[in-house]
């Protein structure tokens, strides 16, 4: 892989894609073996939505972006070209995608990740995931872990680095997603980083254990309770007005817990498809969330339960 970087072929049109997510299962600060704290998260990927970037390289020319609001994409292209090929950016960038913006579903990271991959592709030099993550964090200031495709990781969003590999994959889950504050958008970097107290920090250690255990054994119940605990702790920092409603709904409908976007407005009720009444619970959750005036954004893993209507 490193060979391809130094002796790239002639620039050609590069294509990169990346998917979005539905907020986080857990987000907090965790102590490393030496005791130092690292802010980290576990992303809930949403493979049904994503970004696609096409990069038309023109060495020596200016960099043309799709329009205003794509500064991070521009930074990603520039960083990648400079880091990999020692070149100033030149060319045209096209971005298409269907990740909702400003709700915490990773639109920015998916654009940036797709852009980095497109630039690498334009030189026939695909990048390893950890390199994409590092560049994405540099371009954005912080990013989620959607570029880490082949495993489930606890991910330091500010550094763009894997803290710990938790499992090869997430267990099968159904997540009924909704927007807890329709019309409001959150600027991830503008909002202040949470200052957790001692008990909260100690609790994150327990949540990490719950993640290790639940992802190793496929225990969606434990994973869901860890997600709920994380949502409750972070409620102090970016409150979701309907969180209590969603937690109660989860309890009443036989769900495992509630996950939220810790820098956005979406939230999801987590169901275990292996439980007998899940299809019914999912159906009821979609109904009740809609009746409460919250738009259902998506039902992740919907194919795992039959007879369930697709979210609006």
């Amino acid at each position: 892989m490193t060979q391809g970087r130094r002796g790239p072929g002639a620039p050609r049109v590069g294509i990169g894609t990346a998917h979005g997510h539905h907020g986080e299962l857990v987000q907090g600060a965790f102590s490393r073996p030496g005791g130092a704290l690292v802010r980290a998260l576990l992303t809930l990927p949403h493979r049904g939505i994503g970004s696609r970037v096409v990069f038309h390289p023109e060495p020596g020319a200016a960099l043309v972006l799709p329009g205003p609001g794509y500064e991070k994409v521009g930074r990603a292209v520039e960083l990648t070209l400079r880091a990999l090929f020692d070149e100033p950016p030149g060319g045209r960038v096209e971005v298409t995608g269907d990740v909702p913006r400003g709700v915490g579903m990773g639109s920015s990271t998916s654009d940036v990740t797709a852009a980095i991959r497109a630039v690498a592709d334009s030189r026939g030099a695909p990048l390893p995931d950890d390199e994409v993550a590092r560049l994405a964090a540099l371009a954005e200031g912080a990013c989620d872990s959607i570029m880490v495709a082949d495993r489930v990781v606890l991910f330091a969003q500010r550094e763009g680095a894997v803290v710990e590999t938790l499992a090869p994959r997430l267990p099968p889950m159904v997540v009924v997603g909704c927007d807890t504050d329709p019309g409001v958008s959150v600027d991830t970097l503008a909002h202040e980083q949470p200052r957790y107290g001692s008990t909260e920090l100690a609790t994150f250690g327990v949540l990490r254990s719950a993640l290790r255990r639940s992802l190793t054994t496929g225990d969606v119940g434990l994973l869901g309770r860890a997600a709920s605990a994380s949502a409750r702790i972070n409620q102090r920092f970016l409150p979701k007005q309907p969180l209590d409603f969603l937690l109660a709904l989860a309890e009443e409908e036989g769900a495992c817990g509630v996950q939220v976007a810790h820098s956005g407005t979406v939230a999801g009720v987590i169901f275990d498809p292996a439980r007998p009444d899940t299809a019914h619970g999912v159906y009821r959750a979609v109904d009740r969330i809609g009746a409460a005036g919250l738009p259902v954004t998506s039902v992740l893993g919907e194919s795992l339960v039959r007879d369930v209507p697709v979210g609006a």
Partner: protein
């Protein structure tokens, strides 16, 4: 646990071994459970700049918390003064002094609060005499219960599900801390606190107690009564015999507070075969070789008994001490509600 070397003894001493005692019962076996709060509190104080080079660590204890502190201060090259009862055991005293601790013994009990109140008075005097002291205050320092997040971490990672935690209660730090952190992901986890008759923790009037290491003559602020689902009181005889059975049947060489907790946990696990129970076993048996593990001593002290009751005797009033192992439905109530016998939720 990560397969890596420990940086120092006190780091290793914190880590318990999880040992299966029955298909649905695990012992959390400590060499020295009090290392968890002792190390956490001193490291925290260090990080918060509360420990100058000449700061003397002072604490009132004649038990395992003092030993854990002494191990920490020996490593750090720091002075430690412990204020204890006249009755501090000689084996422990030798170990404490070998670790460089100065052990001061109070002469007599205070009128109210017994030796513990007398120790607190002496401690206050010592602090006035020294320019810089730090007292870990295990009975009131919230870092004591907080430090037990470590135990919850280990249990959650190793077992995933824990339906009931049983532990002896002295300061309340270990059982309340462990349970509260477990409940962050296992909200229904049941908690049973094990006390000695004639201890004030759960409503009995203070009185002489042969079973040491659990129970208290003063109410510790770190005991959060609302964590507990039920409370058991046992006698010294029962705890000692259970300690021996833990050794004889499971080859686990633990102290008498472990025996007391094991007695209750074994019963609960038998009664709830589909639930997973864990029991905190706080220290090893060496300190008790000449007492609990000595049949002649047990006979001389009148602690011999042939067998243990199958079940605790249910009691309806938390304020009346008994003469046998007994159980009270605490129901996560405040102290005031539980001893008044009001506010028990129907569940």
């Amino acid at each position: 646990m990560p397969a890596r070397p420990y940086g120092e003894a006190t780091e290793a001493y914190r880590i318990p071994k999880l040992i299966r005692l029955a298909p649905n019962l695990y012992g959390v076996c400590f060499t020295l459970m009090k290392m968890i709060p002792a190390r956490h509190i001193l490291r925290r104080a260090e990080a918060d700049g509360l420990l100058e080079p000449e700061t003397v660590v002072v604490e009132t204890t004649s038990g395992t918390f003092g030993l854990a502190l002494a191990m920490q201060t020996a490593q750090a090259g720091r002075r430690l003064i412990l204020v204890s009862d006249p009755a501090v055991d000689e084996r422990l005293l030798r170990r404490l002094t070998d670790l460089g601790a100065v052990v001061e013994r109070v002469a007599a009990k205070a009128a109210v609060g017994g030796y513990q109140a007398a120790r607190l008075t002496r401690l206050a005097e010592i602090r006035r005499e020294l320019p810089s002291t730090f007292c870990p205050e295990q009975y009131s320092n919230p870092d004591n219960p907080r430090s037990y997040a470590l135990v919850a971490e280990l249990l959650v990672e190793a077992l995933g599900q824990v339906d009931c935690v049983v532990g002896p209660v002295g300061s309340g730090g270990s059982l309340c801390g462990t349970t509260r952190f477990l409940r962050s992901v296992l909200p229904d986890c049941h908690a049973i606190g094990v006390d000695s008759h004639d201890s004030v923790l759960f409503g009995h009037p203070d009185g002489p107690r042969a079973l040491r290491g659990l129970g208290n003559s003063l109410m510790p602020p770190n005991l959060d009564h609302t964590v507990l689902d039920s409370v058991h009181w046992c006698t010294a005889d029962e705890a000692f015999l259970a300690t021996r059975q833990l050794h004889q049947r499971h080859a686990l060489f633990m102290g008498p507070t472990s025996g007391a907790a094991y007695l209750s946990a074994r019963w609960w696990a038998r009664e709830h075969p589909d639930a997973l129970t864990v029991v905190l076993l706080p220290d090893e048996g060496y300190r008790y070789l000449d007492t609990v593990y000595d049949d002649a001593w047990l006979a001389a002290e009148g602690h011999v008994r042939a067998e243990l009751p199958d079940a605790p005797t249910p009691v309806a009033d938390a304020t009346v001490p008994g003469t046998v192992w007994s159980a009270f439905d605490w129901g996560r109530r405040t102290y005031a509600d539980a001893v008044a016998g009001v506010g028990l939720a129907v569940r």
